[in-house]
Structure formats: structure tokens, C-alpha cells
């Protein structure tokens, strides 16, 4: 027995939200359970009720559209995202990030909604969603609202979700036809490990837009402020400029996986590798 909780499987968001509201904090939303159940096991602290939203059809949708972007239900397993052709082609950073979470077995259970609701500073999908400008659709007893992803994370395992609110979908705005994104992660072992640092970069040559997000280097994943791209700036100079911005924006700590010093040292390497992937097709300089 992993805990003393009771369990309800709900058929609609409304039903689930009403239950969460009625139990007044004693009930917790269950998606894949790969973080929640481990936390219950490790702490021995069991909620009264787990409300399983996985049967709700809306939460299992993965809709992609070249014009409209993508809409990913909160309960879509990470492997489904990692294997989706459109996500791989258009939202490459998210596919790569989804693929780097846990193990294959875990990714069959772990969901995108759960990965961000858990709000680990090291959540792999977070930097990808940040550079892709995702927004998070949430529903609570007071109705629905949209939270821009960069306003979701407020601290270690803390989000701006209100009590009783659940994530229903994550929407990704459409990306330009030449836009690209990529994700990289450094970890202790190559299989099944949390990130020492993870990073995503998106780049749209037509919009002159470049976004960088870094995980596991502060209390929340960090989206760097936008940079102005100057004409014909060599990649290494751009990487250096971004590194200066990043070093000022992040505040990593020493933990069991790595020291702050090492994390800071990996930032320019990841930046350089990601920029090379994204910008090099254009000849090394923009």
C-alpha cells in the first residue's frame, strides 16, 4: 500500500473540480502519478482523496495545426508527445524535453500537465514550454483562465494555481515556418536521471526572435529576457552575450547532483551547442 487515500475517477473536469473544492485541500488531482505517488510513498503523508482526471477526454487530446499551433491535454503521456510527428517537427524542443524525462516506462505514465504542475525546478518540459511561449489553461470552481507559462512557476514545487484549480491543457502558439527549437540536458547518468541543468532555445529567423530558458538553476525554471539580435553576429559572440545575461538571471545552488559552480560553467556550453544546432544551417552566422 502506497498510501491511505481514497480514489475517484471522474468523467468531467467539472466533476473533478467540484470534488477538489468540496474536500478543501484534502483532495489532490491525479494524472500519471509518477511524481505524486512517489512523494506520498517517500513522505508517508497521504491526502484523503486522489481525483483521477485521466478519463476526461478533453485532457487526453493532442491537437496540432500549422496555423493554430498545438493544444496538448494535461493528461497526455510524455511518450505520446515525444512520438508525435508534428511536435517533433514544429515544437522540437518539447519533443526532446518530453523524451528526456525519467525512463520509457515512466514516460508512458507521466503527463505534461503533471510535469509542470509538480513544478520541480528541474522539470524537463518547463524550459521547452517557456521558449515556445506556451500558456496553461486551468479550471477551478470559479471557471477557467489562461496562465502564461512564465507566470506559472512561483517557487520550488510551487505554482500560481489557486486551491482547487487543475491544469486542463497546454497551448502552444503557432510557430513561423522557419522557426526552430531545441533542448539539451546534462545529467549524471545517461539513463533515467534528473537534470543537473537543462536548457531550451527557440529561434525564429523571420521574427528575429530568440528565446532561452534554463532549468535546475534557480527556484523555478528561468526564461531569459528577450535579446535584440544584431545583423551578422557570429554564433560565439551571441553565445557569449547570452551567457552574460544567463549568468545574471540564474542563481543555482549546490545539491547532490552538482554544484552551483558546475551549473554556471555548463551554461555557455549548452548555449553554444544549442545555438550551433539552431543557427548553423544558415552558415555559422546569422
Amino acid at each position: 500500500m502506497i498510501g491511505t487515500f481514497d480514489y475517484v475517477r471522474v468523467g468531467s473536469i467539472k466533476e473533478g473540480c467540484e470534488l477538489l473544492a468540496a474536500r478543501n485541500g484534502g483532495a489532490v488531482a491525479l494524472a500519471g502519478g509518477t511524481d505524486l505517488l512517489v512523494s506520498i510513498r517517500n513522505t508517508g503523508r497521504s491526502p484523503d482523496l486522489l481525483v483521477d482526471f485521466k478519463d476526461v477526454a478533453q485532457l487526453n487530446r493532442l491537437v496540432t495545426d500549422n496555423d493554430a499551433g498545438a493544444m496538448i491535454g494535461a493528461c497526455v503521456p510524455l511518450n505520446v508527445i515525444a512520438d508525435n510527428t508534428v511536435i517533433n517537427d514544429r515544437f522540437t524542443a518539447l519533443a526532446a524535453a518530453a523524451r528526456s524525462v525519467g525512463s520509457y516506462q515512466v514516460r508512458n505514465r507521466a503527463t505534461l500537465g503533471g510535469n509542470i504542475a509538480n513544478a520541480s525546478p528541474a522539470a524537463d518540459t518547463a524550459p521547452a514550454l517557456l521558449v515556445l511561449g506556451a500558456s496553461v489553461n486551468v479550471t477551478g470552481k470559479d471557471g477557467t483562465r489562461k496562465i502564461p507559462i512564465d507566470k506559472l512557476f512561483t517557487g520550488v514545487k510551487k505554482t500560481s494555481l489557486r486551491a482547487g484549480e487543475v491544469i486542463t491543457d497546454i497551448s502552444l502558439p503557432p510557430v513561423g515556418s522557419r522557426a526552430r527549437s531545441a533542448f539539451l540536458k546534462k545529467q549524471r547518468v545517461k539513463g533515467h536521471d534528473l537534470a543537473i541543468i537543462n536548457m531550451a532555445v527557440s529561434y525564429d529567423p523571420d521574427a528575429e526572435a530568440l528565446r532561452v530558458a534554463i532549468g535546475s538553476c534557480a527556484v523555478t525554471p528561468i526564461l531569459l529576457p528577450p535579446v535584440n539580435l544584431s545583423e551578422n553576429e557570429p554564433i560565439d559572440e551571441l553565445a557569449e552575450r547570452l551567457n552574460d545575461i544567463a549568468q545574471a538571471a540564474i542563481s543555482p545552488i549546490d545539491d547532490i547532483r552538482a554544484s552551483a559552480v558546475y551549473r554556471l560553467g555548463l551554461v555557455p556550453v549548452l548555449l553554444s551547442d544549442l545555438l550551433s544546432v539552431l543557427l548553423a544551417p544558415e552558415g555559422g552566422a546569422r
Binding site: M1, I2, G3, T4, F5, D6, Y7, R9, G33, T34, L37, V38, R41, N42, S46, L50, D52, K54, N79, G102, S103, Y104, Q105, V106, N108, R109, K190, G191, H192
Partner: protein, 157 residues
């Protein structure tokens, strides 16, 4: 404690049971159905010894609640051999020398089984990715990778 009645198919057999919400699928299999092939190596989804197939997809059954499997289909190592005949995959594990202490073997075979069903001709990197969530302390993995490759090659013939 409140019990939930669930009905699921385990290795093709329909089972109806009453389970508490806090019971994991692994506990259901081992303690209620006496299918002790799946093992608990950590209880936290880290080692893969408890891997079974849920609707054809490998999962760590220590992190699945039994109540979540109502109406679903579960396959364990006990369903891998048919009529007392080892599957080609099981035989490949033996032929490639991929078994030592045997504690990780049931989970490892199930991960490999799912891989071969979704990708009959995996590359070595794809095999490694598929079994990276199954820890083995004895073999150093090389012979396990060889076993999966052998099973995939055998399929071509």
C-alpha cells in the same frame, strides 16, 4: 478501508477483485493474483524490476494504482511463454547469456517485449533507450542488448 471493485484482464484472464485505493498494481499482481514474476526493487519507479505492460505499454507497476487498471489489460512475464513454450525473446535471453541473478529479468523481458512490438527492428541505441529504465547490476547490459537484437533478427527469418 473502502474497497473498489475492479475488473481487468491479466495475461488474457478476466479478474474481478476488490482493492483498496492505496494498493499498487504491483501489489495486486504479487499479493492478490500471486504473480510474483514482477519484482519490487525500489517502489519508486527507478529500477524497472516491476515492469509490466498496461494496454500494451510498459509501465512501472509500483507507480500504478490497482484501481486505475479497472477495465484495462495487463501483461506480465507469466504471460510471455505460451503452452509451456518459451517465446523467441525468452529463448534469445538464454542464448545470448543475458541472465545472471534473474531479479531484473522479468521486467527487462517485458520492456524488450514492448519494444519489439512497437519497433520490430530496433537499433542498439533504441534498445538501450527502451531498457534504460530497467536497472541490472549483474550483466553490464551488453548481453541483454544482444539478446533483444537476436530476438529481432530471429523475427526476420
Amino acid at each position: 478501508m473502502k474497497l473498489h471493485e475492479i475488473t481487468l484482464a491479466v495475461n488474457g484472464t478476466r479478474e474481478t477483485l476488490s482493492v483498496p485505493a492505496g494498493m499498487t498494481l504491483l501489489e495486486l499482481l504479487r499479493e492478490k493474483l500471486y504473480l510474483t514474476g514482477p519484482k519490487e526493487g525500489c517502489g519508486a519507479g527507478e529500477c524497472g524490476s516491476c515492469t509490466v505492460l498496461l494496454d500494451g505499454r510498459p509501465v512501472t507497476s509500483c507507480l500504478v494504482l490497482a484501481v486505475e487498471t479497472d477495465g484495462r489489460e495487463v501483461r506480465t512475464i507469466e504471460g510471455e511463454a505460451t503452452d509451456g513454450q518459451l517465446s523467441a525473446l525468452q529463448q534469445a535471453f538464454i542464448d545470448a547469456g543475458a541472465i545472471q541473478c534473474g531479479f531484473c529479468t522479468p521486467g527487462m523481458v517485458m520492456s524488450a517485449r514492448a519494444l519489439l512490438e512497437r519497433n520490430p527492428h530496433p537499433s542498439d541505441d533504441e534498445i538501450k533507450e527502451a531498457i534504460a529504465g530497467n536497472l541490472c547490476r549483474c550483466t553490464g547490459y551488453e548481453s541483454i542488448i544482444a539478446a533483444v537484437r537476436l530476438a529481432a533478427e530471429g523475427r526476420e527469418k
